[in-house]
């Protein structure tokens, strides 16, 4: 499934991610998942929120002078069993798809782990994931 993700450019300074989290929190927006990648000087926070809140989250962050972008990423529900992730990745790889980055969040009360994948070819990756 394709879902939308918000990416926010963050200067590598104390409290920068806290500002974003507080901004969303004060406006009743819950982060369902996120990851932060960093270089020496800056980082990028990628955030998933409820589908019906994403436009509001995007506009809020933008209105507060952050550089923010919205991109489609592939959402994968991966069974909680050995080899399940390997199978998914092998299929993507066999189709010539490279993954730019990905992150996962496991939920022990569910039979699935949820994985967010940012491939170079989003459409194709989504088809392959759908056929798993």
């Amino acid at each position: 499934m394709l879902i939308r993700q918000i990416s926010v450019f963050l200067e590598n300074e104390k409290g920068k991610f806290a500002e974003i989290a507080r901004l969303l929190g004060n406006n009743g927006i819950n982060m369902k998942a996120f990851t932060v990648s960093e270089t020496q000087d800056f980082g990028i926070a990628r955030i998933i929120v409820e589908r019906d809140q994403i436009e509001r989250a995007f506009n809020l962050i933008k209105a507060n002078s952050y550089a923010v972008t919205m991109t489609h990423v592939v959402y994968l529900e991966c069974a909680h069993k050995p080899g399940a992730m390997a199978e998914a990745m092998e299929k993507l790889s066999a189709a010539g798809i490279s993954v730019e980055y990905m992150y996962a969040f496991a939920d022990s009360s569910s039979e699935f782990s949820r994985v967010i994948i940012r491939p170079d070819n989003t459409e194709l990756a989504n088809q392959i994931i759908a056929e798993l």
Binding site: L10, E11, F42, I44, T69, E100, Y101, R118
Partner: protein, 424 residues
């Protein structure tokens, strides 16, 4: 030489060089004609105020050889300093010019107490930069021994300096401090070095730095002043009194003007330093505005020299900064940013000195549509800007991408550079 004799010599030389410039350079002929002045109007050195000024932009506009006043076959050497968008400032020297330049450096070296028994390690960069070869020719002129290490490779510098027994070192004062620090770190004993004199220039430095250098390297540290447009290092140098930089005014005639009214100031008053090269034939500079702010002292020095002394450089009448010995204009950064569609044209330069090395940070903003979730794209974009600035300006900046709207937008008087270094 008495001041009167000096003025007579200067007058004679000025008449000749002005006629030479007028008769051999379409640039100077046009400039003089527009200004309504003819070489026949120049009878003595006092008439110099009748002449029009020359500025850095004139050298850029006449790139590469438009300012030369002799056929190129008579030019024996070219030097250049960094310019905007890849166009450097080019200077050319005849055989006589090179000889006069070497002579000027030799006078500095003699004033530092150096002679034919000395061995001088030249850790200024050799190449288009005038520092290395300029100092080199001066040492050769006094019959000293040159160790042409050029800049960099500190480990080797120190090894040779110790093994060869160099008695003097020529480099930027900040690099000398760095070497002093390395000597300490490597556990070397300064007593095993034979250094007695430091020849420091190409960037502003303070009395505090002088004291530190003299203590740590067990030397006497002397200033050498110069600029590419006028010749290079050796336009002036300190003497044993370390009380002002003597200018070799039979070669390079100095004036101080008010940078706003462009009128000469009273002797001793602060203003912008202007030079006329009285004996430089390849590319004479007539009333060249250095943009350096300082003052002149015509009193006879305790060392016995009557040559005028220049005070410390107090600042600039433009926004040029000297970073790691390299001249940097904020406008250079601006024109480079304009080459990149991904960046906003706003920036803030911050310069500081950390561990005796100048830092060169530039804050920039990426245009909103070029932000991305892919960190590698931003890293590459940053890398491209870093490489471009390094290739144009000559030193590597630390590019810091900041959030949109961080950098001050007001155009007119926006502060585009902050220098945190302490020079006094």
């Amino acid at each position: 030489m008495s001041r009167d004799q000096m003025r007579e010599l200067q007058s004679e030389k000025l008449r000749k060089i002005v006629a030479h410039a007028y008769n051999n350079s379409p640039f100077y002929k046009k400039r003089f004609d527009e200004h309504g002045v003819h070489p026949d109007d120049i009878k003595s050195i006092d008439d110099i105020v009748k002449l029009p000024f020359t500025v850095k932009q004139d050298l850029r506009d006449n790139y590469p050889f438009g300012m030369m006043c002799v056929p190129m076959t008579d030019i024996l050497r070219l030097h250049a300093s960094s310019g905007t968008t890849g166009k450097p400032i080019v200077v050319g020297y005849t055989a006589k010019d090179l000889d006069n330049w070497a002579d000027a450096v030799a006078r500095c070296l003699s004033a530092y107490g150096l002679g034919s028994n000395d061995m001088v390690q030249i850790a200024y960069g050799y190449g288009l930069f005038t520092g290395g070869l300029g100092a080199h020719d001066g040492v050769t002129k006094i019959g000293g021994t040159v160790i042409p290490t050029s800049s960099g490779n500190t480990q080797k510098q120190l090894q040779l300096m110790q093994d060869f027994g160099a008695t003097a070192v020529a480099c930027t004062p900040s690099y000398a401090l760095y070497m002093a620090e390395e000597i300490r770190k490597q556990g070397l004993d300064i007593k095993n070095f034979k250094l007695k004199v430091g020849i420091f220039g190409a960037e502003p430095w303070t009395e505090a730095m002088r004291k530190e250098l003299e203590d740590k390297l067990q030397i006497r540290a002397f200033d050498i002043y110069g600029l590419t447009e006028i010749s290079g290092p050796g336009v002036g140098g300190e003497c044993e009194c370390q009380n002002g930089t003597h200018l070799w005014e039979d070669l390079y005639y100095p004036e101080i003007i008010d940078p706003v009214t462009l009128q000469p100031v009273e002797p001793g008053q602060k203003g912008e330093l202007v030079f006329t090269t009285l004996d430089k034939w390849g590319m004479p500079m007539i009333r060249y505005r250095t943009r350096d702010l300082t003052y002149l002292n015509y009193d006879k020095c305790e060392c016995g020299r009557t040559a005028v002394r220049m005070g410390k450089i107090l600042g600039r009448s433009d926004d040029m900064m000297i970073i790691r010995g390299v001249n940097v204009f904020p406008s250079q950064v601006e024109s480079i940013l304009l080459e990149f569609p991904e960046y906003e044209p706003y920036f803030l330069i911050e310069v500081d000195r950390v561990n005796n090395t100048d830092t060169f940070d530039i804050q920039v903003e990426v245009k909103p549509e070029f932000y991305t979730d892919r960190i590698n794209e931003l890293v590459r974009l940053r890398q491209r800007l870093t490489a471009r600035i390094q290739s144009v300006i000559g030193i590597q900046p630390n590019i810091k991408i900041v959030q949109p709207g961080t950098i001050e937008r007001s155009t007119g008087k926006a502060k585009r550079a902050i220098d945190h270094r302490k020079f006094e």
